[in-house]
Each structure stands twice: as C-alpha cells, then as structure tokens.
Subunit: 325 residues, 2 copies
C-alpha cells in the first residue's frame, strides 16, 4: 500500500513537459494553462471552449526532406498506373516510374499536385485508410531509417497531453490531407478523426457491387487548409475560436493570428527549426537557409515578436526531440 | 436522508423516454442502446464510435408551413436592402418588402435561394450569430404563437438525452444552414457547435477596421447538406460512420442507408408526420397529402420496410409532441 501510494504520487508530481528545457517557451505554456483553468480566475475558460490547434508538418513531425504524405503519394504511383495504364506514358508519372532520382528531384509543385490528385482519389474511403495503414507499417524516413510516425516531436506530444489533461481538446489543423492524417492521428497523437482538420477533396456517395453504400474519393479539392484556409476551416469544422495555436511556417500565420486575437489569455507558438544536428535548420529567418519547405520568414519572426507570440527554438528549448533518442 | 434517497432513486428509475408510447419504435431505440452498450456483448460499440445523427427540420422541430430558417431570411430582407438599396427594385426582394402575402406565396424555390444568399452572407460570423439570437428571442411560429425553439419535439429531445446518457455523441445533420443551427443548438438541443453538420457557404478571412481578424460569410455554397450530401459531409466533418440516424424525408435517405449499412446493431428511424391535429399530416406516403416540405414518399416507406428501418408514427408513438402541452 505504502509503495503504491509513493508510486502514484511520483507519477502525479512528474513534470508533464519533461522534454522541455526551462525557459520562456515552457513557461508560456504552463502559465497559459494555469491562467485558463483556474476556477474563479479572471482568465478562466469554460471546458467546452478549451480548443488548441496544431499544425502537423514541421510542428508535430519532421517535414524534411519532404512532407511524409509526398512519400506516400510517390509509393502509390505504381498502383495508380496499374489502375490506369495510360498514365505510364504521361509526365510526371513516367519520371516517377523510371526511378531516376536526378529527374525526380526536378519535379515541380504542379507535378506533385498531379501525382497527389491521382494517388489520393478514385478509391472508397475505407480502402484509402487501409492503404495508408499498410504504407505506414513499412515506410521509413530516408535519414533515420525509422517509421515516419516515430519522427514525431516528443516535446509537442507532451504539450498535447498536458493540454488534454487540463481539459483542452487538441485539434490537428494541417495543410496535408485530412483523410491521410485521420488514418493515424488517434494512434500517433491521441487525436480522434473528428479533431483533424485538413486539406480535403470531395467524396461521392454511391454503392458497391453488393449494393452497400460507400464514399469514393474524388479528384476535386474542397478545402485547401493552408494560410487563410486554416481559420476558415477551423470555423467550418469546429465553429469555435482556438485559445492556443501552434505552427512553424508562414502557412500557419493566420491560424495563430486568429487564436491570439480573442479575449483573455491566448497562446500562439511558432517552432523555429534551428537544430541542424539533431533535426534540420531552416528559415530563412535568423539567417537559416531557405529550403522552401516550411518557410519561416523574417516577417513571420517580426510578427511573432510584435504580437506576443512565442518562438520555440528546437535547439534551446527542447531537451530531446524524438522519443527514441 | 431517507427522503432524499427515495427521491434520487425515483429520478434514476424514471423512464428516459417518458413521452413515448410503448410500441415497436420505443422498443427499437431501447434495444439498440442496450445491445451497443453492454460490456462484453457481441454488439458492443466502443464509446468513441458511438455516433448518432439527427436531421433537424421535421425531425427535431416543426418544418411547416416553412422551414424556420426561411422565416429568418425573410425577416432579414429589410436590413439587407438597407445595406444594398438597389435590391428594393429587384425581385424577389421587391415582393417581400411589399408585404403582399398573396404575391409572397407565389415565390419559387429559386427566389428563396436568392433571398437566402443575400441575407445569410456579407457579415462577420460573430455578427451573424448575434442576429440569429436576436431573431430567435422575438420570432413566433404563425400557428402556435410561440418561439420556434419551443416547437421542438419532446420525444426526440428525450432520445438525444437518452443516447448521450449512454455515451453517444449526438450530431445534428441538417439541410439547413450550419451556422444558423449552431447559433442555438447547444441551448436548445444540448448539441455543441462542432456537432452540427449542415449546408454551409464559404467564409473569407480578413481584418476589421482595427486590424482584428474576422471571417466574413460569403454568398458561395461550399456544402449542400441534403441527400447524398449528408453522408458525404458526415465523413468530412466527423470521419466516422454513425450507428444511429434519424430523419423524416427523402433528403435523409442516404444518411439512413449509410448508418444502417455498417456492421453490428444499427438504428435507422424515419418520422412520419401523420398527426394533423397535434402537428401536421403530410406524406405523400400512407395517403397523406404531399405538401412538398419534408417529402415522405411511398418509395421511402417501402425502403424503410425492406431495409429494417423503423417508421415512427407521431400519432401513435408520441404521447406528447411538445414540452408545453
């Protein structure tokens, strides 16, 4: 009895943000939670209104050298060509099938959109989910040679859990595909599908051969969840203004503005990737290289400073980056 | 102590579906809940998957002589004309401003869509919500001379509460405006805004004069939440297939099919308005008049029979219809 009491006290007293170094970033999170959950406090937020939103790529998991979903789309090209053999002679599919890395490195954003359209549509929603699961089980990040889902940031998972333990609902608000992220969000982040807002195509209701209803994913964009699309889609799917928001690039700017602009205590945080050794270093703010993936500009840095957002330095603020370290 | 114990026992033992007569409809609801919540049972459903969806107009509140939101749109025409004076000379606004009931009765669906477009867009989302609240506080149904929110069906509110008490999350899935219903769903039905799926226009992120972020409602349809749109939008906003669905018209057909088609115990229920005395009687199924609002056809009736949906007769199954009776 005595031992079990000590054990549970120890668990209770453990630092919920153990992977964070002491400093202004950790302090901002703790102060925000204390202020908004203190019964009778002037900044108390009712549990139903406790909403926190998180970008995914570069905020919850590694986005270099390319977004995880892009690797998925590339892996699906052979299956898509099997379905529609005429694609084999059409660019950019021809290049992807060639396996010529030098040629693939030259593919444009427009090429990738074509690949995404073809590989993310045409199948029933249930089948798509199974395909994502199967891919996640075997795909490896090219640098760490680990599943992509292990390349999630331990400090951010602690923030999500800490917020949930204090009555917040944590939403992922991603420029990536809503269906893609929903396939693993519960298992990887503890975020259920209905709390994932992302870019989305339309679906079409119909029936399979046995007459059973199904939804087929269509090659038509319905929601573009980047930039202004983030607050617009939070409004559409949630109908509430977040009290806290976390991002890492210019595509998250409006979401952070939106969260921060409400009354009472608000938390807006931007992750700066400044740790080339343990992860990657890119900006171009703070003199870091502009890699065009997850762009963090000087203008964004200045807006953070002038509007009271907190910049998280991966190098200084995070004791560890991945759980496996 | 003794008295308070008896009182709480009485509350606990009270019939959660007190406004329902004994019969197959009530029995279907109770059996579904028992089957899906019995720990270790073969049809047990994990709490996270317990989703029930409800149409609103004609399923949760009166939809005759016209949808409540239509009365709202008509009430907003003078304000819309004040904003854009040129509308005063344009149909259908000219007719609405005239107050000529005979002329208004001839307005077409297309006319109403024009009125909806103008009266439901152009303002910040917060302002729209306030306008809906102000209207609900003073608007009265033409027959009962009561606020529209009192013309909600007591038996259906009991079903919602009963499901919630058994771990279900209750969603409203309405052909009406998502923003409109979200403005009062929590207060009237106990359904928070993020659990309302409805027809929706786009919004546009921008800034007010003081530089504060705001979302402006645009006159552009994004989601049409009728027919196949219901399962499609449930998938978009919730990402889970409902275990129970409730509707009252052909516009709910696909949602009921979708809910019923999953594995395990499923509940699909259709309300038949067959009580001209206490509410309204319309079909055209069962020889009731076709009023073109909330159409319930013979084909729908036959599908209910052949696919194991339960038809609720308002006349036979409901002891009382409104709380104020």
């Amino acid at each position: 009895m005595g031992l079990s009491l000590i054990a549970s006290t120890a668990v209770f007293a453990a630092d919920p943000l153990a992977s964070w170094n002491e400093g202004p970033a950790k302090q901002a999170i703790v102060e925000f939670v204390k202020a908004t959950t203190k019964e009778g406090g002037t900044q108390f937020v009712a549990p139903a209104d406790r909403i926190a939103t998180f970008d995914q790529d570069g905020t919850l998991w590694v986005e270099h050298p390319a977004y995880g979903q892009l690797f998925y789309c590339l892996s699906r090209v052979p299956a898509a060509v099997e379905e529609k053999p005429e694609l084999a002679q059409v660019e950019p599919f021809k290049t992807v099938l060639s396996g010529d890395h030098a040629a693939m490195a030259k593919l444009t954003l427009d090429d990738y959109l074509k690949i995404a359209m073809v590989t993310l549509s045409g199948m029933p929603t249930d089948e798509f989910k199974q395909e994502v699961h199967a891919w996640l089980a075997k795909a490896k990040d090219p640098r760490w040679k680990r599943p992509f889902t292990e390349l999630t940031y331990q400090p951010m998972k602690e923030v999500m859990q800490y917020l949930r333990d204090n009555g917040y609902r944590t939403y992922i608000v991603t420029g990536g595909g809503q269906d893609f992220v929903r396939a693993y969000s519960e298992e990887v982040y503890g975020v259920p599908p209905e709390q994932v807002v992302g870019s989305a195509g339309t679906t079409e209701y119909g029936y399979d051969k046995s007459g059973k209803p199904q939804l087929i994913k269509q090659p038509k964009i319905l929601l573009n969840d980047n930039d202004a699309g983030k607050p617009e889609n939070i409004y559409l799917l949630v109908g509430r203004q977040p009290y806290a928001a976390f991002g890492n690039s210019t595509g998250d700017r409006q979401m952070l503005e939106y969260a921060k602009s409400g009354k009472g205590a608000r938390l807006a945080m931007l992750i700066l990737h400044d740790d080339a050794e343990r992860e990657y270093a890119y900006g171009p703010a703070q003199g870091l290289p502009d890699t065009k993936v997850g762009t963090f500009t000087d203008a964004l840095y200045n807006q953070a400073t002038s509007e009271g957002w907190t910049v998280i330095s991966m190098k200084k603020d995070w004791k560890k980056i991945f759980a496996f370290e």
